[in-house]
Symmetry: C2
Subunit: 445 residues, 2 copies
């Protein structure tokens, strides 16, 4: 994309309404615009990151054997009466009446609807195991929406639901989700620690939240610092292998790590003192096993091998897709702006032309731009007639991980500068070498 | 995907509620499930086609130089008061009150919100031309939702908005949309004819609807049969070339083609009798130029080169993304089921194992399945323990354009059967040749 033809409305001033850094930078970098309290438009740069995150979530869910579908945003109230949650859910549920005065709601989550889909179409244990998920807009009518997309009212969530014949199978689904979530967050450059949590209105006994450590997090968390040394990395996972998924789950959850809701001071004190940490965390996902809580009242049953009919064992599993943009920025920024991890960056590299209009720099920039695109990358070329300082400030603010700077002096020696946004370190090299380096960096992802 | 692990709930019986063929087949092929009147879940097969259509729309909009963003589903009522449409829109607008009693609505279209984004961030003619679009769920509270996704209440639409300094530039944007839409529909295997139409509640003078001829269409259309002979084909388009876009627009719109709303009997009678046709059509898109209808009341102005401040010229342009699934099926089916055009098919080919459990056929099927996947294709392997007849019926119903049938008798002579869903013609060839043929077919798309 050429910046002269893009819509990137960056702000010079810090917006007064933004209390935390991710909200401030998302507004300043022209990523979002508030349309009503807790309701945002995703401007082109924000939308690009949102799509990259969504794509990673899809890929990792499909890799784990989960099947995508899409449920609507609006739901009939009657479905929620079957589970008993219509009256329980409280004011966060946005209730709507249509022109025929039918009671509807804007879905805050989808346990009821997916259970309805299941019971309408599945009848036999032979169709299990089954995990269905979707990525869809949800609405929760928060009393005090704040922190930008971190606590919005209309938000994008991945929610998945497993249907299994036995508790054992359902716990495998739980572990499978835990593993696939670890991989999902790591691909986004995030460390999200699974912590034993409280189940809240979803219900159920087994539940872990995934928390990203950040000083602006809404939750207080307590953990053994050794837990931050574990990575899934590039190990091969066979998602059908129950023992392997179980082992990963145990590896990541046996060290102490809890939110304040489940914190146990006695257990915490048993950790060696130098590893005893408390901090703040941002919740970016949660997994639940809740057995037959929905399948029983809603009649989601299957026939077993010996002809009996039993309610299925279920769980639900969510990733806060839109919220992740805020969480990533909270975890990765400096005082000049955002620092996108390569896995989610809106553009793979920025090209800064130090002397727009100069035939030599223009054609060198065009060549680099063309070469990156030809290799399947998505560069942003700042081809505006602006001062170098303004161009650098924009690139730093929007946080592209790599910048190629092209000026007449360097070109005289066949050199451009490749700069890492994260370290600030620049290296001089030929334009071809810079392209090759950027291609190599992304080939590994 | 292996069918044994997929969620494809096909129905044997014709659902009583479905009056038209696309609705019937989408239900029977397990593509959708109704959740409330005019509100559907997109089951895995339906969701896959929806995503393919969405992807084509994105690619062609980006190719035309249009920039994607995403506006929320809910909008504040006050924005619609500025344009005067809040009171005008009538009962099709779903009005909502949140917990603070603020008036909101579920967006039926986005002229107001995009104009708000524009006026908040753009100030100079230097930032024009600009076309922004999104693909987002909309809601129109139809009195009588029917025909499945063809006239649903919650539906997915691509809507784009151009902002230009002059009427001339805005008409170029209009032509650019017309051309990009022609390419979009052709890639989906559809002929959609631009017809002079009525502007309705959007407003404006210049507008064309794109209609797919089908006996179940809701509109009566009148046209010169010569118009159905024109194709955009693979010609190169430079979307910055005003004259070229104008020429394509004239080529496609100078022959008589109108909906009943703008039909002119005298002009129609001037067509040679043998080319005078009337038929029914399904609207799958519409483009509008409406000048300053929104920019003036909402204050979306820019500073001109000579320092004056003028309202921008705008247009809006929509494609009915979810409705397209219905339109494609209406245009492409037979009495056994759907016939997907290659451009939008949910799976590129089906593999039918005639003797599941036989080591030879199983391993031949696995090899074909693996080879197609290795070439970047997405096959559906029917690995269920079912009769051949049932497997064929499912494949015919869900409409994959190519089927590879693998049985022990053929394999003895190193042969499998490659069958075209459209023509029904089967050819015997080696498994390798069948894979190569399927790869070749999709390489051209």
């Amino acid at each position: 994309m050429r910046l002269s033809r893009y819509f990137l409305p960056v702000l010079k001033e810090n917006p007064a309404e933004a209390q935390i850094v991710s909200h401030r930078y998302m507004l300043r970098a022209g990523m979002i615009k508030q349309q009503a309290a807790g309701i945002y438009s995703w401007l082109p740069l924000g939308f690009k990151v949102l799509r990259r995150i969504e794509q990673i979530v899809h890929e990792e869910q499909i890799r784990a054997g989960h099947i995508p579908l899409l449920m609507p945003t609006l739901q009939p109230a009657d479905l929620w009466r079957e589970s008993g949650r219509y009256d329980d859910y409280g004011q966060e549920m946005l209730r709507i009446k249509d022109r025929q005065d039918r009671e509807m709601l804007y879905g805050p989550t989808n346990e009821e609807m997916i259970t309805d889909i299941f019971r309408s179409h599945v009848n036999s244990y032979k169709d299990l195991p089954l995990t269905l998920y979707h990525i869809q807009w949800k609405f929760r009518d928060e009393m005090r929406p704040r922190f930008g997309v971190m606590r919005g009212r209309e938000f994008l969530m991945k929610d998945g639901y497993n249907f299994d014949l036995t508790k054992e199978d359902a716990l495998h689904a739980y572990n499978r989700h835990l593993v696939s979530y670890l991989r999902t967050y790591e691909r986004m450059g995030l460390q999200a620690i699974p912590m034993r949590a409280d189940s809240g209105p979803i219900g159920g006994d087994d539940t872990h939240e995934f928390l990203v450590l950040a000083s602006t997090g809404e939750s207080e968390v307590f953990y053994d610092s050794a837990v931050t040394d574990i990575r899934l990395g590039s190990r091969e996972i066979d998602y059908d292998d129950k023992a392997q998924c179980q082992a990963v789950m145990e590896e990541f959850t046996s060290l102490y790590a809890r939110t304040d809701e489940t914190h146990d001071a006695a257990l915490f004190d048993a950790i060696p003192e130098e590893r005893r940490k408390s901090a703040r965390g941002i919740e970016v996902g949660q997994i639940f096993y809740f057995g037959t809580k929905y399948s029983e009242p809603m009649g989601a049953t299957v026939v077993t091998p010996d002809g009996a009919r039993v309610p299925v064992h279920m769980g639900s599993h969510g990733i806060g897709v839109s919220r992740l943009l805020g969480a990533i920025i909270e975890a990765s920024h400096d005082d000049k702006g955002i620092i996108w991890p390569e896995g989610v960056t809106p553009f793979h590299a920025g090209i800064v032309n130090l002397k727009q209009g100069d035939a030599g720099t223009d054609s060198a920039c065009e060549a680099i731009y063309g070469a990156l695109k030809a290799r399947g990358l998505d560069p942003l070329y700042d081809d505006r007639d602006e001062r170098a300082g303004a161009k650098f400030a924009t690139m730093d603010l929007i946080g592209l991980p790599w910048r190629i700077t092209v000026g007449p002096r360097g070109l005289a020696a066949n050199k451009v500068e490749l700069t890492s946004r994260r370290t600030g370190v620049s290296e001089e090299m030929s334009p071809e070498a810079a392209v090759a380096r950027v291609v190599e960096i992304y080939a590994g992802l």
